[in-house]
Symmetry: C2
Subunit: 250 residues, 2 copies
């Protein structure tokens, strides 16, 4: 993305859109395009999210969308920020309750919009809704006497855990949508795979499977979040915090 594209994306996300002073009345608008795209992605998944499909949702043609968003990548940025706008800001209060709130807001958002976790990659331009939510999460940690980079790291750890669980969840949702087969039925219906799960080759898995460890799984989000918060508590409440080396350069 060139500098000029970056600046344009910033204006697109952060500044009010200029109102046209001439020309025909627009049947579409950026907000309508974004909402239609979110509706399509929510209902049909990330692979259905094409410019043609969105335009169809609006009773229009694909090229008309380009009057309102410069491109698909920018549309995705707008969608992500719009969805962040549906979440609440983390309220002031104890750091743990705050981070839990933040994580739950993210989780709810991802559950409602799993496509967010499946977007084409590379750097997305952050928008105001996402940034203000992140800002509020930093705020509940900032009063703990941590160094600034520790504040960032604490919030980042929570977010990255939720992202990881969310990705798994999103992939499951998509698989079920595509195949009409639930996660459980998929594993139960793949006998050819289980034939290869032998005690010689996979001793722990066969033991765990035989013991019901996969039949009644714990809630991954709940279990993992509690552990992450416990670990952060040990860090936050320690008298003498362990030094962590700086990020290595990639």
């Amino acid at each position: 993305m060139k500098q000029s594209d970056r600046d344009r994306s910033v204006r697109l996300l952060w500044e009010p859109q200029p109102e046209p002073t001439r020309g025909p009345r627009a049947a579409l608008s950026q907000a309508r395009v974004v909402q239609a795209a979110i509706k399509v992605a929510d209902a049909e998944g990330v692979d259905a999210l094409t410019m043609r499909r969105v335009a169809e949702e609006l009773g229009s043609t694909a090229m008309s969308l380009y009057r309102h968003v410069p491109g698909k990548s920018e549309l995705l940025d707008l969608m992500v920020d719009a969805v962040w706008g549906e979440t609440e800001h983390t309220p002031e209060g104890p750091w743990r309750a705050g981070l839990e709130f933040f994580a739950r807001q993210m989780w709810s958002m991802y559950r409602a919009h799993p496509w967010m976790l499946q977007l084409t990659t590379s750097r997305r331009m952050p928008g105001p809704q996402a940034m203000t939510r992140q800002d509020a999460a930093y705020a509940v940690v900032a009063g703990l006497g941590l160094r600034p980079e520790e504040v960032v790291a604490v919030v980042t750890t929570v977010a990255q855990f939720v992202d990881g669980v969310g990705r798994t969840m999103a992939d499951r949702v998509q698989a079920e949508r595509e195949t009409g087969v639930s996660e459980e039925d998929w594993w139960n219906g793949t006998e050819s795979l289980w034939e290869h799960f032998t005690p010689e080759r996979l001793p722990m898995m066969t033991y765990l499977y035989g013991s019901g460890g996969f039949d009644r799984p714990l809630d991954e989000f709940e279990f993992g979040l509690a552990r992450v918060l416990d670990g952060l508590a040990a860090f936050v409440e320690a008298e003498d915090r362990p030094a962590v080396r700086r990020s290595t350069c990639l």
Copy 2:
């Protein structure tokens, strides 16, 4: 994916490929196709990973690949499992050291092959290399007296955290590859964005930025992993473990 496609994918990953008994000597092989694809993805990123590009790497044509892998999705499954084959199995020993080893193996793998975190989504068929590594990780936890589903949850938490950090890392690597601009230079060079980061709108971010919280970031993997392991330690070593409700149905 239909049942028959599933069975085929299982055979592809888990069973030795039948040797042809007739016909011309093949210039290509499945292993060569997989290795060429890994090489392309490592060097040029996930977007460059097209059948045409892989074929070009082999001095062949795209359609010839289909003699050796049934489709691109199956090629991706094979690639992922091949790369897992480069990692070491978690050795027997203390649970914490074991999980740390597992996490580091994953991290090294993702650092060498960031495309793994960026594959088209939906359910991937697990292969023998990935499964045996997971099996070994379960093994270091299994002797702790946890319930089977707790064993699964403990290992899953670590893996999902690493996946979350890895995704962020992969996106950065890709962005830098595409733009030739480093993460740091990107943020520093996007003045138009910083103009919107004001104390009124983003008080914590501007404070953290001004305090150097973003200049010298802590290593996200190291910091987060330590916290996750601390949290798991509290769980594993607790006398009376908190009950976690079961996974909700999606």
